[in-house]
């Protein structure tokens, strides 16, 4: 009975949980989680990004339409025991930073000067918890240089 109650409370707590940046613009790092026995970790993730709004677009700057940039971190976690709470050997690598995502956008549209109306999301991909991928996706409207 106690176990069921604990499970129910945990479930309710999980529903109340929210991810990402808060209303107060508190920076929340988006790093890929490390396993219990981490051998190697070389990863960058998003922290905060105060993006432009339509007001920041210079007058006369041409619209370049909707753009999207993705940057990813990758992780591998190999369990070494057959226990559910067992140890795992893990490693993580990649660059899932805002900088990398914005570089990707710039690569696709070299004439781009700035972006506004920015939405940032994270893609979580995992198979058996062994292979994990955490990507930062930046979707925005772009503008070029004004004349």
């Amino acid at each position: 009975m106690k176990l069921s109650l604990a499970l129910l409370l945990l479930l309710l707590a999980s529903l109340a949980r929210a991810r990402g940046e808060n209303d107060e613009d508190t920076a929340v790092p988006g790093l890929i989680p490390a396993g219990s026995f981490n051998l190697f970790y070389d990863s960058s993730g998003p922290l905060s990004f105060v993006a432009n709004t339509p007001k920041d677009k210079p007058t006369g700057a041409p619209e370049l339409g909707l753009v999207k940039g993705v940057s990813c971190q990758y992780g591998l976690s190999v369990p070494v025991t057959a226990n559910l709470r067992g140890t795992s050997i893990s490693g993580a690598i990649g660059n899932g930073s805002f900088v990398k995502a914005l570089e990707e956008i710039k690569k696709k549209k070299p004439e781009l000067v700035g972006i506004y109306d920015v939405r940032t999301d994270q893609r979580i991909f995992s198979i058996l918890g062994i292979y994990r991928k955490l990507c930062t996706e930046v979707t925005a409207r772009a503008f070029g240089a004004g004349k």
Binding site: L3, A6, L7, L8, L10, L11, A13, S14, L15, R17, A18, R19, G20, E21, G30, P46, S48, F49, V50, A51, N52, T53, P54, K55, E63, K68, N83, L84, R85, D117, V118, R119, T120, D121, Q122, R123, I124, F125, S126, I127, L128, G129, T136, E137, T139, R141
Partner: protein, 115 residues
């Protein structure tokens, strides 16, 4: 009872992470710097739109879907070319039978101005 404990821990971990234990491919919202009416070419006859994007999990094992801001805004705008402003973003959760099937949706509602 002793064998149930690890299983309970597993389920608790799965429900807390909102991920599937076997397979996960979801998108979650992170940030959206929305515009205020002063920042766009707002007009009194701008339409109000609502968009929704969802992630789903089944039996704590599989998680899939796209609950990103990008998807919710795209759903709200439809075929319109505009900028949302005065945006309210909310989360809606539906969970059934102790979370065996769960749907978590990002909902955005706001007005659309011309770009």
């Amino acid at each position: 009872m002793r064998h149930l404990r690890p299983l309970a821990l597993l389920f608790a971990a799965a429900s807390l992470s909102s991920c599937g234990l076997l397979y996960t491919d979801i998108k979650v919202p992170r940030g959206y710097r929305t515009a205020t009416p002063a920042e766009v070419k707002a007009s009194p006859d701008d339409p109000t739109v609502t968009g929704k994007a969802c992630n789903r999990t089944a039996v704590f094992l599989f998680a899939w879907g796209d609950a990103s801001y990008a998807a919710a805004v795209a759903n709200a705008l439809g075929t319109r070319d505009g900028i949302m402003y005065d945006v309210r973003a909310d989360i809606k959760v539906n969970a059934y039978v102790l979370g065996i099937y769960t749907q978590v949706c990002t909902m955005v509602s706001g007005r659309v101005a011309k770009p």
